[in-house]
């Protein structure tokens, strides 16, 4: 330290900078946190309706997280949602005819994709497409179906 006044000025400058950085970090969209750990191969699947699925939603196999949703877009021809997912490279023996369905964790939880393995001897590889899918369950649709059935019974 050259002298106390100079030292105080440096410390204050550091404090102001740290505070501003903290506010900026809070303002940022946290975009890169938690994604860096995902590495593996990419698979895509088409769904009629993805419900509340978002980027970084988990991909689960028997309830264990094995990957992440990396990208969601609309197929311009079929108007279906195309979900691209990254699956960890150690899970490279998933059968090609595996089934992907969207479920909700609990009543209020976030949505995720559950993979049910099929029986094919060929395995999913980078860039492959899962053809058999089940869309997110929309609660209102089920309720209205149930009500219509009830009405029809009478």
């Amino acid at each position: 330290m050259m002298n106390t006044q100079r030292g105080i000025e440096i410390v204050v400058g550091f404090f102001v900078l740290a505070g501003i950085v903290a506010l900026l970090v809070l303002t940022l969209k946290w975009s890169d946190f938690g994604t860096s750990s995902v590495s593996g191969y990419t698979v895509s699947a088409q769904f009629d309706n993805i419900g509340g699925l978002t980027d970084r939603s988990p991909i689960k196999l028997a309830g264990v997280t094995i990957g992440r949703v990396s990208h969601i877009r609309i197929d311009p021809k079929t108007f279906e949602a195309v979900v691209t997912m990254v699956i960890g490279s150690q899970y490279n023996n998933l059968p090609k005819d595996s089934f992907a369905s969207i479920y909700t964790a609990g009543l209020l939880g976030a949505q995720y994709i559950e993979i049910s393995p099929g029986g094919d001897t060929q395995v999913l590889k980078n860039g492959d497409k899962i053809t058999m899918t089940q869309s997110a369950v929309v609660l209102e649709k089920i309720i209205s179906k149930f009500l219509f059935n009830k009405a029809a019974e009478k």
Partner: protein
């Protein structure tokens, strides 16, 4: 019969005296605020004084703010996990911790700690300056104490508060991450991902910053006012310090309700 009347009138007099002195105190506060307003910008002609006060008020409060923020985050993480796991919604832990901190706990808890740590110190310092007639001595030398002593301290509080509140929230979110993700096993990507999706930078963070600016101004104003108007005795200094902490804490909590109703209310 006479005695009853006398007791009654004594009670009335005490009530009236209380109201009058409260009114006088409030009036003094407004007059003082008006005088201070005129000195706020001229105080920037000597920025080194303000830097000095940011150090005394802000940097020296860092330790208590960062430690408290960490513990508040840890507790929020634990409590939130307990509640959210009942609904199988622990993925939302991150956003719950982050929003409670950025919207409410960051500004309010920081302000309360700040009033106790820095506000009381400012009041005691100014009150002692007044008691030892340093302020009068300045006036004798044609130095304006409002500009030389009071305004820099006010600026110090206004500048330091939002920065401290931001650090508090950030450390708290880290604390929630530590307990939620590293200890209790919440999914790390969900913790950050939900924060990313649900937190609105402009609404949530800016409202937190506005709140902490307002709290900083209120605490700074109360602290310098109570110090400046303290009775020049040792008892007066102790009373002024107590009043600073009590009054600014109450004002912070009351204003927080008004600001929240204005920002997030219907």
């Amino acid at each position: 019969m006479n005695r009853v009347f006398i007791a009654l009138f004594n009670g009335l007099a005490a009530l009236g005296q209380g109201v009058l002195s409260a009114a006088a105190h409030t009036g003094q506060l407004f007059l003082f605020t008006g005088q201070l307003m005129g000195r706020l910008l001229p105080a920037w002609t000597r920025p080194k004084l303000i830097v000095q006060e940011i150090y005394a008020i802000g940097v020296l409060s860092l330790v208590i703010i960062v430690i408290s923020g960490g513990f508040v985050g840890l507790v929020l993480g634990l409590q939130g996990y307990n509640i959210l796991s009942k609904f199988n919604a622990t993925e939302s832990l991150g956003v719950m911790v982050a929003l409670s901190l950025v919207r409410e706990l960051g500004p309010v808890v920081t302000a309360l700690l700040f009033a106790g740590r820095a506000g009381s110190a400012v009041t005691a310092e100014i009150a002692l300056m007044k008691t030892t007639e340093q302020l009068s001595a300045m006036e004798m030398m044609a130095v304006d104490p409002l500009r030389r002593v009071i305004a820099p301290r006010f600026w110090g509080a206004v500048i330091a508060m939002p920065l401290l509140a931001g650090l508090f929230s950030l450390v708290g979110i880290m604390g929630g991450y530590f307990i939620g993700v590293l200890v209790l096993g919440v999914d790390s990507a969900s913790y950050w991902g939900q924060i990313q999706q649900q937190m609105q930078p402009m609404d949530d963070v800016m409202n937190g910053v506005i709140k902490s600016l307002v709290f900083g101004a209120v605490i700074g104003l109360v602290a310098v006012f109570e110090g400046f108007n303290a009775e020049p005795t040792s008892l007066g200094i102790s009373r002024a310090t107590t009043r600073t902490v009590v009054l600014s804490s109450l004002l912070v909590l009351g204003l927080d309700f008004i600001l929240t109703a204005w920002m997030f209310g219907a």
